[in-house]
Every structure is written in structure tokens, then in C-alpha cells.
């Protein structure tokens, strides 16, 4: 736009609408003439918040991971080094990372399998009050205290808990014992085994999978399914070639929640499980009692990197189209 035309435009606009009185009026005129000014004013506070509070603290943390701890005095040395990252690859620390990532992956797959039928029913069959009941059923666990739920599960899974009792009443104690005898996933009782940790994770994060999957399934037009049937597809073929691909973005979106939440949680494995550490607990132990902030920071980088790759893959699968 040339200077001349902008002058004309200003002249025209003032000719059509006389300037409003008062400072609010002139402010409003100013914003109208410079739309970018308003945008800058409105974006600056959230940008500062994001920049300083979020990213700033994140980078402060990342910077810590490039320091190291002195072997003898236990004091943090402020010289840039990759030694702390090297420590992540010590067997005990690598175990923690592998353990956490495997658990997150298994929980995610299981959550998808359990959530899909529930979400499918809610999206395609539930109507009226049943739909309301579905929402309450899914959301209710989210409203109650997380800790109460986890402690309740500890009691359910205990050696002398209700689950053991039910198995005994059904004369299936042998089945439970056979399961607990399996190495790695078994243990002395469900509440001190990986199986127990897995069940609690699955229960607690399930709503985060159900809701996006249901949203995705509601968007699958009924006519597609009818058309698939008209063209002679069996229900299985319809599921494989129509419903599942269309619901996939919802599943991937849900998996982002279940995967990242499992990756970062440090309370569930502390209450239910075999006391073997997960990443969140390792961070807590290293920064809290050990004063080894560099290693705690390096541990924090692990989920960030993993989630970075995960989100990149999810984007390619179209997960963000459903949000």
C-alpha cells in the first residue's frame, strides 16, 4: 500500500465515521486502524507466560542436565559435560528407562483394546439417557481423588484382598498362583507384581483413551458402513477397511495421553508394584534425597525425547486431525 492511498483511506474512514470521544473511543479507533497492535497486546501475556514460565523453566532444567556431580564431594559442578547423559546408560538406569517405556507401551495397547468396544457402543448405539450414563460412567473415576483410587486398588489386589477371595470362591486359586509364578510379571501377590501395576495404570488412564476414540467413531458416517455392507463386505472386512482406519486418529490421540501419563507417573508404581523404580520415581529420588540434580534432569529429558518421536509419528498418522 502506498502512502498516498493510505492517506486517502484514513480521510475516507474519518469522513464516514467521526472519531469517537474519550480515551476508550480513541483506543478503539487505534485498534481498528492497526489490527496488529491489538494482536500483539493480546498475545504478549500468554506468550510471556509460555516463554518464561514454561519454556524458561524447561530450559533451565535441560541446562542442569549438562552439568555433573563431583564424584568425591557430591557437589554439582557447573562445567558443561555429557558425563551425566553417559550415566543414563549405566545398566541400572537403562533398566529404569526400558521398564517405564515397556509399561507405557503395554498399557497403551491394552487401553486401546478395552476402550474401543466401549467407545463404539457409546458412539453408535447409546442414545438419550444411556449416552448420559456412559459419559458419567467414563468421567466419574476422573472426578474422584486419584490417590483414593490407587489405594483402593492396593486393597483389591492385596494377598488377603477381595480378588484373591473371589478366585478362592471360584476354586481358581491355582490359576492365580500359576499366573503369579510366571517370572517378571508375577510376584508374591498381585499388588507387589508388575501385573498389579499394569492393572492400576490401565484403570486410571482408561477414560483418556475412551473419550477421543468415541469422538473419532462418532465422525464415521453411518452411510459408509451401510455402503460397505451393500458391497458385500463381511463385518470383519468393514471393521478392517472402514471403521478402524477412520477411528485410528482418535486411537492415536488417546494413546498420546495414556503413553505420556504412564511415562511420567511416579505415584502408582510407588503404591502398587515391586518397588522397582520408574522414571518419575528415579527423578524424585535423584533430585530429592540424593541432591543429584544433573542426573534427575537427564532422566527428565528421556520422556521428552521419547514423546517428541511419538508425537512426530502420531502427526504422520493424522492424530491431530481429530483434536
Amino acid at each position: 500500500m502506498t502512502a498516498a492511498s493510505s492517506v486517502t483511506q484514513t480521510a475516507q474512514s474519518s469522513a464516514i465515521l467521526p472519531g469517537q470521544g474519550g480515551w476508550t473511543g480513541s483506543l478503539s479507533d487505534k485498534f481498528w486502524r492497526n489490527p496488529k497492535l491489538l494482536l500483539i497486546l493480546m498475545l504478549t501475556p500468554p506468550a510471556l507466560w509460555l516463554g518464561i514460565i514454561y519454556l524458561g523453566s524447561l530450559f533451565a532444567l535441560l541446562a542442569q542436565s549438562f552439568f555433573s556431580i563431583d564424584e568425591f564431594s557430591g557437589m554439582v559442578q557447573y562445567d558443561l559435560t555429557l558425563k551425566t547423559y553417559g550415566e543414563l546408560f549405566r545398566p541400572a538406569n537403562l533398566d529404569i528407562i526400558i521398564r517405564t517405556v515397556s509399561m507405557a507401551a503395554i498399557v497403551t495397547v491394552a487401553a486401546a483394546c478395552v476402550a474401543f468396544p466401549i467407545a463404539y457402543f457409546a458412539a453408535r448405539y447409546a442414545r438419550g439417557k444411556w449416552k448420559a450414563l456412559f459419559y458419567i460412567g467414563v468421567m466419574l473415576p476422573l472426578w474422584s481423588s486419584y490417590l483414593v483410587k490407587v489405594y483402593a486398588w492396593k486393597l483389591i489386589l492385596a494377598k488377603e484382598g477381595i480378588l484373591t477371595w473371589i478366585f478362592a470362591k471360584l476354586h481358581l486359586t491355582w490359576l492365580l498362583e500359576a499366573w503369579l509364578a510366571i517370572p517378571i510379571i508375577g510376584g508374591y501377590s498381585l499388588s507387589v507384581s508388575y501385573t498389579g501395576t499394569f492393572l492400576v495404570f490401565l484403570y486410571v488412564w482408561l477414560p483418556f483413551m475412551v473419550l477421543p476414540v468415541q469422538a473419532a467413531l462418532e465422525r464415521v458416517p453411518g452411510s459408509y458402513i451401510e455402503a460397505s455392507g451393500d458391497l458385500g463386505a463381511t463385518p470383519g472386512q468393514t471393521f478392517r477397511h472402514v471403521i478402524f482406519p477412520l477411528a485410528l486418529p482418535g486411537i492415536v490421540a488417546g494413546s498420546i495421553f495414556t503413553f505420556s501419563l504412564t511415562l511420567g507417573d511416579y505415584i502408582i508404581p510407588q503404591i502398587v508394584g515391586s518397588s522397582r523404580l520408574f522414571i518419575g520415581q528415579a527423578v524424585y529420588a535423584q533430585q530429592g534425597t540424593a541432591g543429584n540434580i544433573p542426573l534427575a534432569a537427564a532422566f527428565t529429558v528421556v520422556p521428552i525425547v521419547i514423546m517428541g518421536f511419538y508425537l512426530w509419528g502420531a502427526k504422520r498418522m493424522g492424530a491431530f486431525d481429530a483434536i
Binding site: E160, G161, G187, V192
Partner: protein, 386 residues
């Protein structure tokens, strides 16, 4: 300095004190008028004003007598306590052995003048000059409470009290005919390595361990080996007192290192639980009320320290917390603690307790020791099965 002026001592005194040695420069010489407030960082349950149970109240009477309002900030770990004291704004802290020396080294606390605390003479002689609050003969606080980490056991699984920590370190068949595998617990903190070291002190004297908190590389490796064997027996490591109590109730756990707190609570519920101090001895904790270097309310703080040493407070607190009083007089005639209370909580076993301290690389007994941060990473490995 500011606080000294506030408390009314003359400028001349301040100058004279400043001229004398640095440690004594901060020490109060006389009490002023109470400031009206005292801010205390304390362990949860340490300073009760009858809100949980009306019988346990040692704040209200103090506030009435002195006009000092008590403000308590609870802290759950020693690290939190150190962080809060570094932040400032507090007058007192009930610090455990690991935190106390760190705060003295960091000059966050000031020496106390025992002449201003009339009850100082009533303090247990065993605690008066304890190394966790006395440095070079200067006292940095008044002892508050102490307690042993006892061996808690189920009386149905053990016909008589276990004599040794063997039951949590070695696989064996218990009196009820079943193995102890999966039925014992250990503490989920790196400091548990000290318990293993103490066991080795008694059973492997050739290692030459002098203090369970001062281990050279070989002694440390032996302790870790013992703990790796223990991992096979332990179903879950405990870190939360209430989870441990639940595990004794619902998880079939029959023996574990524990605190008198859990033992007393489980007993009061009528469960078949008892505790013992095995022949190897035990580890334990001892807390000290310490005065902040820049305390804004020093007079009220001194009055609280004096109050905290009264037999009534000490006895009530010992009954509440399952700990031992720092004042022996508290053991007699306290209604809440009872005459047996001190013996129950392990008052007579002071010499068999190795009090908690932070392992440092420069240690007294052998010059070069494994520092605490290695304890943390290696204990994580042990629990993870490495």
C-alpha cells in the same frame, strides 16, 4: 545483628560480641520481650495443638503463658527442611541428624546460649553434647526427641521375638512352617544400606566396619551384596508408614524394620504385632530444635525451646509419636505415656542405636568413604535387581 538490637541489648554489647569469635558473635546473651510470634518448621505431628486429638496439645498453654503465637510449617523430608531454612522467614526447625550438620555447615542456624534455657540441665546426658548438634563444643540446638528403627514382627509367625536381623536378610523357615520369602520388607531409602552395614559389623568383623555410615569401597560392596540377597526375599520396599501397616494387615508381611509409630498403632488396633531390638543393634534418628541464624523472634524461640524441654511436653510427644523424650524426667508420671512408655519405645537401648547421619566422602573413621549420592544410585540398582 538486627535481632540483637531489637531484643534491647546495648550497642556496646553488640560491638563487644562482634569483636569476639565469630561463633559466639551470634549467640544471644539475654532474653528480650516476647515478639508475639514464633515460626517453626517441624515434622508432621511434632507440634500438636489438640486439633487431631484433644489430649495431645502442647501449644495452647505456651501461647497463653508467653503471648507467642506458634506458627508451624510441616516438612516431610530433611531436604525440605533444609530448603525452607535456606529460604528464611523461620525461627526454629526440628532437624534430624542428616539435616542438622548440613545447616550448621551452611551457617543457617546459630549457636544457642544454654544459660538462657533453665531446663538445659534436665536434658538427657547422653544427648547433651551429641555430635549431630554440637560442633567444637558449641551447641546448636536443644534435643527434642529420638527413636530407634526397630524390627517389627507378627507374633503369630514368630513364637518368640527374633534375636537377629537374619530374618530380613537370609532366607529361612519361620516358626509357622513357611518360608520368609515374600513376607519381609525393607526400607525404601538408600539409608537402609546402613542397616545392612550394621548387620555386617556383627557378622563379618573381618570387614572392619566402625560405623555403618562410614564405609570404604570394600565394606560398601559387601553391604550391597547382602542387600542383593535381600531383594529376593522382599516383595515390596516400604517408604510410607501407612502403606507398611496395610501390608502387615492385608499382604501377609510378617517382619520388617520399622518405627515404633507403626508398632504402637498396629498394637492399638489389636493386631498380633510386636517389636524388638535384635542383637546386632539398630539404626535410629534423633531430632534437635535449632535456631535460625537470622531468626526474627529469638526471644519467643528461646521460650519455645525452654517449653519444649518440659517433662509434660516431652512425655506427651513421646506418647503421640512413639518416640523417646530428650528429658529423662518425662518417663515418670506422664499420664499419656505411662510408666512403661519409655521402655516400650526403646529408651534404655540408646547405646545400641547408631544414629542417622549423612555419609560423606571425608569420614572420620577411615579417611575416604563412599558418599551419599552413590548410596542413592546403587540402592536404586539393588531394588531394580542389579
Amino acid at each position: 545483628m538486627k535481632s540483637l538490637l531489637k531484643s534491647g541489648t546495648s550497642v556496646m554489647v553488640v560491638l563487644a560480641l562482634a569483636a569476639s569469635q565469630a561463633a559466639a558473635a551470634d549467640m544471644m546473651t539475654a532474653l528480650g520481650t516476647p515478639e508475639g510470634n514464633v515460626n517453626i518448621v517441624a515434622w508432621p505431628g511434632y507440634i500438636e495443638r489438640g486439633e487431631t486429638d484433644a489430649n495431645f496439645d502442647w501449644v495452647t498453654s505456651f501461647e497463653k503463658e508467653t503471648g507467642c503465637k506458634v506458627n508451624v510449617k510441616s516438612a516431610n523430608t530433611s531436604d525440605e527442611m533444609v530448603a525452607l531454612m535456606n529460604e528464611g522467614g523461620f525461627d526454629l526447625v526440628t532437624a534430624s541428624g542428616d539435616a542438622s550438620l548440613r545447616m550448621i555447615a551452611g551457617k543457617r542456624v546459630q549457636p544457642i546460649n544454654t544459660d538462657l534455657i533453665p531446663s538445659w540441665n534436665s536434658v538427657d546426658d547422653r544427648l547433651k553434647s551429641a555430635p549431630w548438634h554440637t560442633v567444637n563444643g558449641v551447641h546448636y540446638g536443644t534435643p527434642y526427641q529420638w527413636g530407634p528403627n526397630v524390627l517389627m514382627y507378627n507374633t503369630e509367625a514368630f513364637k518368640e521375638a527374633p534375636k537377629s536381623w537374619d530374618v530380613v536378610f537370609k532366607e529361612m523357615t519361620l516358626a509357622d512352617g513357611k518360608s520368609n520369602k515374600g513376607r519381609v520388607q525393607a526400607y525404601d531409602g538408600p539409608i537402609h544400606i546402613a542397616d545392612a552395614a550394621q548387620y555386617l559389623m556383627a557378622h563379618n568383623p573381618e570387614l572392619g566396619i566402625k560405623s555403618p555410615y562410614e564405609l570404604n569401597a570394600d565394606q560398601y560392596a559387601a553391604a550391597l551384596d547382602l542387600l542383593r540377597g535381600q531383594r529376593e526375599l522382599v516383595s515390596r520396599y516400604w517408604h510410607d508408614a501407612f502403606i507398611q501397616m496395610d501390608d502387615f494387615k492385608n499382604e501377609g508381611v510378617v517382619a520388617s524394620g520399622s518405627w515404633p509409630f507403626q508398632v504402637n498403632l498396629l498394637k492399638s488396633e489389636g493386631l498380633p504385632i510386636a517389636s524388638t531390638i535384635p542383637e546386632e543393634g539398630v539404626t535410629g534418628w534423633a531430632d534437635t530444635t535449632m535456631l535460625h541464624a537470622d531468626a526474627e523472634n529469638p526471644t519467643c524461640a528461646y521460650l519455645w525451646m525452654e517449653h519444649s524441654l518440659s517433662p509434660k511436653v516431652q512425655g506427651d510427644l513421646a506418647a503421640w509419636f512413639g518416640s523417646n523424650p530428650a528429658v529423662p524426667a518425662a518417663c515418670k508420671g506422664n499420664a499419656l505415656l505411662g510408666d512403661e512408655g519409655c521402655a516400650t519405645n526403646g529408651f534404655d537401648d540408646f547405646d545400641r542405636v547408631s544414629f542417622w547421619q549423612t555419609p560423606v566422602s571425608k569420614c572420620e573413621s577411615q579417611g575416604e568413604c563412599v558418599p551419599y549420592y552413590r548410596w542413592v544410585s546403587d540402592y536404586i540398582g539393588v531394588i531394580g535387581g542389579r
